[in-house]
């Protein structure tokens, strides 16, 4: 997955001082990849938010008479085997796919930061936590996700947990590496000398300076989550099919790929556009926030 190409050592500590300042925002707005990515992501987000307005009918509303309608004026994206409108299903699918992606990102951020920070800051925990993450990373990622999803029973929540678990070790490692570098910085040493508590040093001094690589990583985790959710759904281990995610749409459509190819192509395209948007966004963020590794999309 793309996120592992992100440098595991933090860089540009100096740049962090400007992190949340307007300068960064201005530079991002000038970065072409970022802008294109942001536009694509916003578009998908809008579709997801306004799905009830975009959808001409309920996504589960059947009309057997109108089944397998190819795209036309009446049905811009066609209809499926039960005559359900694909516009509605893809729009609502955006909701679920993004929600699962967001869930994975949040869970991943929370645990990744916690474990990464603990491992980086407390040397005694480091060995154990890193072996644990090695063990989790020794599993082929999708098999681990399938195993967890099967263990917890197929649902959207399970999909979120399964995918988050798979990527937490990777995020934790990136954060640990940042913490290790920042820990040695003068201002941290000064706090320690001044007798500040571990919690204060970790959360007030160190973590705010580790945000850049984390944000970049999370944008890729999001992309990964959207792709992997589709895999889980395809295998029948994702969200229940009554709330259509894009993976479920592909999986349902593939039986009819010869006679009704739009059922497979449209949701696949939706996934591709979203992931593309997220990748572009991630590239932009990386170039601006974490300048050591330049992908130079501008």
């Amino acid at each position: 997955m793309s996120s592992r190409t992100v440098s595991e050592t933090p860089a540009g500590v100096v740049a962090r001082k400007y992190f949340w300042r307007g300068r960064i925002a201005r530079r991002l707005m000038k970065h072409r990849s970022f802008v294109i990515g942001a536009v694509l992501c916003t578009l998908v987000l809008l579709v997801a938010i306004f799905a009830p307005l975009i959808a001409p009918t309920d996504p589960n509303r059947m009309a057997i008479r109108f089944r397998f309608q190819p795209p036309s004026w009446d049905f811009p994206l066609g209809t499926d085997n039960l005559g359900r409108n694909l516009v509605s299903r893809v729009a609502y699918g955006a909701r679920l796919s993004l929600m699962i992606g967001l869930g994975v990102v949040l869970l991943n951020a929370a645990f990744g930061v916690l474990l990464g920070a603990l491992a980086g800051y407390f040397e005694r925990l480091d060995g154990f936590l890193m072996r644990l993450s090695d063990a989790l990373m020794a599993f082929p990622s999708i098999l681990l996700a399938i195993g967890i999803a099967a263990a917890l029973g197929a649902s959207a929540t399970t999909a979120v947990i399964a995918l988050a678990v798979v990527y937490i070790p990777r995020t934790a490692r990136i954060l640990r590496a940042s913490v290790l570098v920042v820990k040695e910085q003068e201002f941290v040493q000064a706090s320690q000398a001044a007798g500040a508590s571990h919690g204060r040093i970790l959360f007030r001094r160190i973590l705010p300076n580790c945000m850049a690589p984390l944000i970049v990583q999370l944008s890729f985790v999001f992309a990964y989550a959207v792709l992997s959710e589709a895999v889980l759904s395809f295998l029948g281990l994702g969200a229940p099919p009554t709330t259509p995610s894009w993976g479920i749409l592909i999986s349902e459509g593939r039986s009819y790929i010869r006679e009704a190819p739009w059922l497979t192509i449209v949701p696949g395209g939706a996934i591709a556009v979203t992931v593309l948007g997220l990748n572009l966004l991630g590239d932009g963020l990386r170039d601006v926030l974490d300048p050591r590794v330049k992908m130079d999309g501008a």
Binding site: R67, L82, A150, A154, G236, S255
Partner: protein, 525 residues
């Protein structure tokens, strides 16, 4: 009079002599040409070929070309002898004496003896899935190498129906393999084909067993028995799980036959002169059964209300993309036990009646959970459309969609958390009679009746199906049982589904059946 009385079997034995002279002639007729490798595209992946311990349809498709049974079902699902050449039933109807066909060899070269049969029965009793078929047997004996005798504790009219059932057949394996643990059986049989290799998820390759001697008593294949010959050198069953890819592979000539053609592709294939469609009109019964232990389906009025609301035509139309027959019976039309008893309860489309029944039941919008799986698209779509129809009738239906192993295990082991389970009855329905309703009878009741005891009125009728002296009595009993099952909503059919298969035009002798049979199939060059 018994349908398969002693006399019929003896007549058959006499006829053997007359037919024998034509044996050689019949041979050349069956295989127009010999040789070649037939590639069969299959839906499902393959797992162990241990036919005793595995009830999977996909296993039978392959294993039943390798193994044979003492007795099985013929093309019309009546019992028929296969490895036995005669059966003699004692006057007290307790002792069944099978004479084995001479000159039958296992694929390992060893001749078949009654010791192998006894060992196979022993193993089936130990690990066989349908081992209840052997209930009521006092003992079996092997008086000589060609004779196998079964002694019952009490006469049982449907005993032969039970041991010949082809759902999980009691295949005969060599005595030295019969100690294998469940699923570990080596696939050594007596059938016309022997196993070359099995690569799960990919393919299974069979080759002709050169020392196979066809059963000369018959002219044609019948069920899993009859006159079987391996015309082909080899047969490769190839797993092609993507339906689109499977059909495409047939169209481009990559494979010679497909197990299942999607409804939408049938028209296109029918127009293709390189391809022949093969149709088995009634291949599966699309059914559901409620959980009678979970609220609110523990209330018979709620169940009746749900049944009253349903439009079976819409459900079947959606579930099969339009290829189906409405069918109110737990039998397929044309089967001996087929009956329309209770027909008025099927396909009622009566929301008013439904509302009335719900009111009587005091239904307050409790959740009704329809448990299904997306691994079987037909079951899923059936459940989906049924849930929509229930909602329209004011019932709080909710789908619970899990992967097949989980869903199946919940339906089998849990009495809470689900209200309806969706499946297809294929061979149990095809077997006919008591077999077709055994899922609703003790002890294998699937609908979780209170205290694990099925409805007494139904059970009374079921006992009459199992033990009735004459076919007429048993048919009457079946009608009673079906009417009761529908009235109490112990299970109900949505309709029957055909099986459409297809072969290349140069494939000859392929006959549709519930499972794939590659004997007597040949390729014209």
């Amino acid at each position: 009079m018994l349908l398969w009385s002693r006399r019929i079997f003896q007549l058959a034995a006499v006829a053997t002599g007359a037919l024998y002279a034509n044996g050689a002639l019949a041979d050349s007729k069956i295989c127009g040409q010999k040789g070649g490798d037939l590639i069969f595209g299959m839906e499902a992946k393959f797992s162990t070929l241990d036919q005793h311990a595995n009830a999977a349809h996909s296993t039978r498709n392959i294993a039943m070309n390798v193994f044979e049974t003492l007795m099985t079902r013929d093309e019309n699902m009546s019992p028929i002898l296969d490895l036995a050449e005669s059966l003699d039933i004692s006057a007290d109807k307790k002792t069944y004496t099978f004479k084995l066909r001479p000159n039958v060899l296992f694929h390992n070269g060893k001749p078949l003896t009654s010791a192998d049969v006894a060992a196979s029965f022993e193993r089936y009793k130990r690990v066989g899935v349908d081992r209840s078929a052997l209930d009521g047997i006092a003992r079996w004996e092997t008086p000589d190498p060609q004779t196998f005798t079964i002694v019952l504790t009490a006469p049982r009219a449907t005993f032969l129906e039970s041991i010949s059932a082809s759902t999980v057949p009691i295949v005969i394996v060599p005595v030295e393999e019969a100690s294998a643990a469940a699923t570990h059986l080596k696939p050594i049989g007596t059938g016309p084909f022997e196993l070359v290799e099995l690569v799960p998820d990919s393919h299974v390759k069979l080759k002709r067993f050169d020392k196979y001697v066809p059963n000369a008593k018959h002219k044609e294949i019948s069920g899993f028995a009859g006159h079987k010959e391996a015309c082909l050198d080899t047969v490769t069953f190839k797993a092609l799980p993507e339906p689109g890819a499977r059909t495409a592979a047939l169209e481009v000539g990559e494979i010679h036959a497909v197990e299942d053609v999607p409804t939408l592709s049938q028209k296109r294939l029918a127009e293709n002169k390189d391809i022949k469609l093969v149709r088995l009109k009634n291949a599966a019964l699309n059914v559901t059964y409620p959980n009678q232990s979970a609220s609110p389906t523990d209330n018979v009025k709620v169940r009746q209300a749900i049944l009253a609301a349903l439009d079976m035509e819409e459900i079947m139309e959606a579930a099969t993309d339009g290829a189906f027959d409405l069918n109110p019976s737990f039998q397929f039309p044309g089967q001996a036990y087929y009956t329309e008893a209770g027909k008025e309860l099927y396909n009622q489309r009566n929301p008013e009646k439904s509302k009335k029944l719900l009111a009587e039941a005091g239904y307050k919008g409790e959740k009704v959970t329809l448990l299904t799986t997306r691994d079987i698209p037909r079951a899923y779509t059936t459940a989906f459309v049924m849930s929509e129809q229930m909602k329209a009738a004011g019932i709080n239906a909710e789908l619970l969609v899990l992967d097949w192993p989980t869903a199946l295990s919940i339906s089998m082991n849990e009495t809470k958390g689900w209200n309806f389970f969706f499946t297809g009855w294929i061979t149990v329905t095809a077997q006919g009679g008591a077999q077709s309703l055994r899922n609703l009878a003790d002890p294998s009741n699937v609908h979780k009746p209170k205290d694990n005891k099925s409805d007494p009125i139904f059970m009374e009728a079921f006992q009459r199906i199992a033990n009735g002296e004459t076919l007429e009595e048993r048919k009457k009993a079946f009608a009673d049982a079906q009417a009761r099952a529908l009235d109490q909503v112990m299970a109900f059919p949505f309709g029957s589904v055909p099986k459409i298969q297809a072969t290349r035009a140069n494939v000859e002798g392929y006959k549709p059946f519930f499972n794939t049979r590659v004997s007597n199939v040949w390729i014209k060059r």
